[in-house]
């Protein structure tokens, strides 16, 4: 039994299953919800299988079709990929569950195939081993995400999607140009080989600049974040969840990978990390302050994403001296934010459907009338604020530890301040869920599946707070952070 489990090519299944599922949803629209949920469940099981495989055999390497690099496509899975895949599977399942109740039939026909295609693209991205395949999967993901954003057909959604599309295409092209330069300079697109071959030539610097710029635009790091609030706020709620939770993390993942494997050994100490750190600080402060100013819930949550992305970049300046702690913090923040933000957007979707609007001051005694949703928002908020017990707390703790051991009081101050500001905007919302609105609107009922999906993901974010030891061990498989010592 055990050998059977480890012999199945789970990585391939992770890519092909959603593709097949999407196809089925396209061909049989009436059965789309069933296929969609089954596919999402299948993805979760496959991730478990892949995790098992990694635990037993170490990193996973597979040459698709038997053709190796450089012309063939290689699949590669280590601890970091596994973590992102876990986040994708969990959020994917939650979103699928939620979407069963959310979309009306005429929208659902379009939603399910594109959503499953997006899921396939995400999985393929996290399993890619060369920079060109990353480009392809990045584009697949981007196009699918844009289509989903535009799904409601409203003015805001369409213009938000258009802006998003232009931004994402610009980012991809900058990235591709960087890929071209790297290939020309070092003769390969395979990440591992590149890591061995790179030297500090002008090609490398140009590539670094282009790739970073392109990926920073796609990750919406301040000040390249302008496309995110309109897109994430006007998309349908489950789509907003996926966008904030997974899509922006995918481009960050690529940046992280390339940084760790290719760029960091060469450019160590040249100021790039400081730049990333500065932009991260700006993102945290700007995003949090903007979130506080919002009057509408989905925009508040979108700006919260802008702020939370900033935290991820704080690790770059800290990693030089406290690598394990800083990168572990990034991993933890990424997955916690994924679960918590998806839950938050889903809760916002519930509130929108319930009251017909998402004005924060108009949340009419929601804590009593939609307790599961209010609970989901509160628990997700706990993780976003970084309060214990939650995954967000673990990430914040690790980041603080890394900063304090290096005497980076500036970063310590920013992290603490960011948490306080987050508490400000989260509790602003929660406070209004208790009070009565001035004008009570007619309320529409919200399907139980939608409430439970939001709550389950939020509880997941909290549970992550207790699973740090096993999860960090998993992330270490294959030593993705390039640090061989075991964290004591």
């Amino acid at each position: 039994m055990e050998t059977v489990l480890t012999d199945i090519p789970w990585a391939l299944i992770l890519i092909l299953l959603p593709l097949g599922g999407g196809m089925l949803c396209f061909l049989w629209p009436r059965m789309a919800r069933v296929f969609g949920l089954i596919t999402a469940a299948g993805v979760m099981l496959s991730v478990v299988g892949l995790g098992w495989q990694l635990l037993k055999n170490g990193v996973y390497h597979h040459q698709v079709g038997g053709w190796g690099a450089p012309l063939g496509i290689d699949l590669y899975a280590d601890g970091l990929s596994l973590l992102m895949l876990i986040a994708t599977a969990l959020v994917g399942f939650g979103v699928s569950l939620y979407s069963i109740g959310y979309f009306k039939p005429e929208k659902a026909i379009h939603f399910w195939p594109i959503w499953l295609f997006l899921l396939a693209a995400l999985n393929a991205l996290f399993l890619s081993a060369d920079i060109f395949n990353l480009y392809v999967t990045l584009e697949m993901m981007g196009l699918a995400a844009v289509s989903l954003t535009a799904l409601t057909g409203s003015r805001e959604a369409l213009s938000g999607a258009m802006r998003y599309l232009l931004a994402t295409l610009l980012g991809s092209l900058a990235y591709l140009l960087g890929v071209a330069l790297l290939y020309h300079g070092f003769g390969t697109v395979d990440i591992a080989l590149l890591g061995q071959r790179v030297e500090a030539t002008p090609y490398l610097w140009a590539a670094l600049g282009l790739i970073s710029a392109g990926l920073l635009l796609k990750t919406a790091l301040f000040p390249l974040h302008f496309w995110l609030p309109p897109a994430h706020a006007s998309a349908p709620a489950p789509v907003s969840g996926v966008l904030s939770a997974l899509v922006v993390k995918a481009s960050f993942y690529i940046l992280l990978r390339l940084w760790l494997e290719i760029f960091e050994p060469i450019v160590d100490g040249e100021g790039i990390e400081t730049l990333f750190g500065l932009l991260g600080v700006a993102a945290i402060l700007y995003g949090s302050v903007q979130a506080l100013r919002q009057t509408r819930l989905k925009l508040l949550i979108a700006y919260s994403t802008v702020a939370q992305i900033g935290y991820l970049f704080l690790a770059f300046p800290l990693a030089a001296a406290a690598g394990v702690t800083a990168w572990s913090a990034v991993a933890y923040l990424a997955i916690s934010h994924a679960l918590a933000k998806a839950a938050m957007f889903m809760a916002a979707g519930n509130l929108l459907q319930f009251g017909g609007h998402d004005r924060i001051t108009g949340l009419d005694r929601v804590v009593q009338r939609l307790p599961l949703t209010a609970g989901a928002f509160a628990l997700a908020g706990v993780s976003i604020m970084g309060l214990p017990p939650s995954g967000g707390f673990i990430g914040k703790w690790l980041l603080l530890e890394a900063a304090l051991t290096q005497g980076r009081w500036d970063l310590v101050g920013v992290i603490i301040l960011g948490g306080l500001l987050a508490a400000g905007y989260i509790f602003k919302v929660l406070g209004h869920t208790f009070t009565q609105a001035e004008v009570t609107h007619q309320s529409t009922e919200v399907p139980a599946g939608m409430e439970w999906a939001a709550l389950l993901l939020a509880v997941g974010a909290i549970l992550l707070g207790f699973l740090a030891a096993p999860l960090l061990m998993l992330v270490g498989i294959g030593d993705p952070f390039g640090i061989s010592e075991i964290r004591s």
């Binding site: 005694r365 804590v367 009593q368 307790p371 509160a378 706990v382 604020m385 309060l387 214990p388 017990p389 673990i394 914040k396 703790w397 690790l398 603080l400 530890e401 304090l404 051991t405 310590v412 603490i416 948490g419 306080l420 508490a423 509790f427 929660l430 406070g431 209004h432 208790f434 009070t435 009565q436 207790f466 740090a468 030891a469 960090l472 061990m473 964290r487 004591s488």
Partner: protein
């Protein structure tokens, strides 16, 4: 499977589980809800009693769960932990009865009792924490679970009071987090160790340690209502009386004070803390709070607000006892945790009775109420005299030990503070008693509810009488083998000072 390891967790579950179940109950299932509440409270009490017996006979109860590589969540039932846990459990049981009576016919009772149970879970977690990170976890959980109770009424006023509370509490939590992480990076451990674990660090770390001490005390000082971090407490009186009684008079405020106790005794060690020179400023801060709280109480006409400022003042006796850094003062301070809890909750119960039965919210409305509600006012009188420090009530014992401890440590100025504070207490409590007993009622009460020939509902009457009796008992029977005082003596001997 070591059964002993699971007992601390079971105690926590015994309040967590009923809370979660109660959330799902319909409003009308009063009986089921009451049964769950009482079952939880009694189970918790029984388990704590079992552990008390075990600890007295040398048993060890500890549970560890890996939080991060190298850092565990620890639940440990030592003597000090059980001291605070017993207080919380007993008062939870009594307050549950009170709350059921108080909130009869009120809306959203399932929500209320659900969060109420979660608060108790957090408080007991604070009590049973074996290291600073576990303490931090439950401490922040306490903030999160008390917030919904504060804004329970759903009015704009409640929402704003909740925001004030949160501003203070989250800010305090941030300071705590900073101090804790910093401490961890310096020492690699956060375990509560008798006599502290910092004395071996080199002298170059002392400035950092002093800053950490300030951060941690400030973080705990918010909940412990240490001036100038006390601003949230008077505003918190907008919550329903059971909330004010248990939470703001006992759980939240005592959790903060308990945190200060843990920091001084089990993290820094009281001798090392004196060496660092931080106990002096702490004592000053406590003294200022004691006097300031009493002065502000003088000018309050709203009864609950007067009691709130009295709490601000009284809780700092604990801090003062801790800061004087001598064995006798320690006993006085720590035992006041329990004594003050008993007396204050009595006072708040009575205030709630007055409000519920007669619509009285202000001291000026209390003329002659002693005749109308004799039992309630009798309990109130006991509590008031205890606050002033009159023997034989528990408050006298704490003040006596504090005074003796101050003499013993050569800090004579503390005695002036104690005497001054007792005088101030008298000045704002005695007039209330005078009004209640010796004046004629000035016409009809603001809003009377009819209970027939009875004074008020028995569920509102029994709790304050019980806690008042316990306050008297703790004082009169202070030398008896299992009194709070003897217990604290045992703790101080075992844990705080070199044998």
């Amino acid at each position: 499977m070591n059964w002993n390891a699971w007992l601390p967790l079971l105690v926590i579950v015994s309040s967590l589980l009923p809370g979660l179940i109660i959330f799902s109950l319909a409003e009308q299932s009063v009986r089921l809800r009451t049964m769950l509440n009482l079952a939880g409270a009694l189970t918790s009490l029984a388990l704590i009693g079992w552990m008390l017996w075990g600890v007295y006979h040398g048993q060890h109860y500890e549970l560890r769960l890996a939080l991060l590589p190298g850092l565990d969540l620890v639940l440990r039932a030592g003597p000090l932990a059980l001291f605070f846990a017993t207080l919380s459990s007993v008062l939870w049981l009594i307050t549950t009865i009170y709350a059921i009576g108080y909130l009869e016919e009120s809306p959203h009772r399932s929500r209320f009792f659900g969060f109420f149970s979660l608060c108790v879970t957090a408080t007991i977690g604070v009590a049973l924490s074996g290291n600073l990170i576990t303490f931090l976890l439950f401490y922040e959980m306490l903030t999160l679970t008390t917030y919904p109770l504060m804004v329970h009424r759903g009015t704009e006023e409640a929402r704003r009071a909740g925001q004030t509370y949160l501003t203070y509490a989250v800010f305090g939590g941030a300071l705590l987090l900073l101090g804790t992480v910093w401490l961890y990076t310096l020492t690699g451990t956060l375990e509560f160790t008798p006599q502290g674990f910092l004395a071996d660090l080199g002298v170059e770390h002392h400035p950092a340690l002093i800053t950490i001490f300030a951060l941690l005390i400030a973080g705990f000082g918010v909940k412990a209502a240490l001036v100038p971090l006390h601003g949230w407490l008077p505003q918190a009186m907008v919550a329903p009386a059971p909330v004010s009684a248990l939470l703001h008079a006992v759980a939240v405020v005592k959790a903060g004070a308990f945190g200060i106790v843990r920091i001084v005794y089990d993290v820094f060690g009281v001798e090392f803390a004196s060496e660092l020179g931080v106990t002096g400023p702490l004592a000053w801060l406590a003294a200022i709070t004691i006097i300031y709280g009493s002065l502000r109480a003088l000018s309050q006409d709203d009864l609950k607000r007067r009691l709130a400022f009295s709490t601000v003042s009284q809780v700092s006796y604990i801090t003062l006892g801790v800061a004087i850094a001598g064995p006798i003062a320690t006993i006085g301070g720590v035992v006041h945790l329990m004594h003050q809890g008993l007396m204050k909750i009595t006072l708040f119960f009575c205030a709630g009775n007055l409000a519920e039965t007669l619509g009285i919210h202000k001291v000026s409305e209390m003329d002659g109420v002693g005749r109308r509600m004799p039992w309630t006012m009798a309990a109130f009188t006991v509590g008031a005299f205890g606050m002033i420090g009159a023997p034989p009530i528990a408050g006298f014992i704490s003040k006596w030990y504090l005074g003796l401890g101050a003499l013993d440590a050569g800090q004579i100025w503390v005695i002036y503070v104690l005497v001054g504070s007792s005088l101030l207490n008298a000045t704002y409590f005695l007039p209330i008693l005078h009004r209640a007993w010796f004046r004629e009622p000035s016409g009809s009460w603001p809003e009377e509810r009819d209970f027939g020939r009875k004074e008020t509902a028995w569920m509102l009457l029994l709790p304050p009488v019980l806690t008042a009796l316990m306050a008297v008992g703790a004082g009169v029977l202070a030398s008896a083998p299992f009194s709070p005082l003897e217990w604290v003596r045992f703790i101080a001997q075992r844990e705080f000072y070199q044998p």
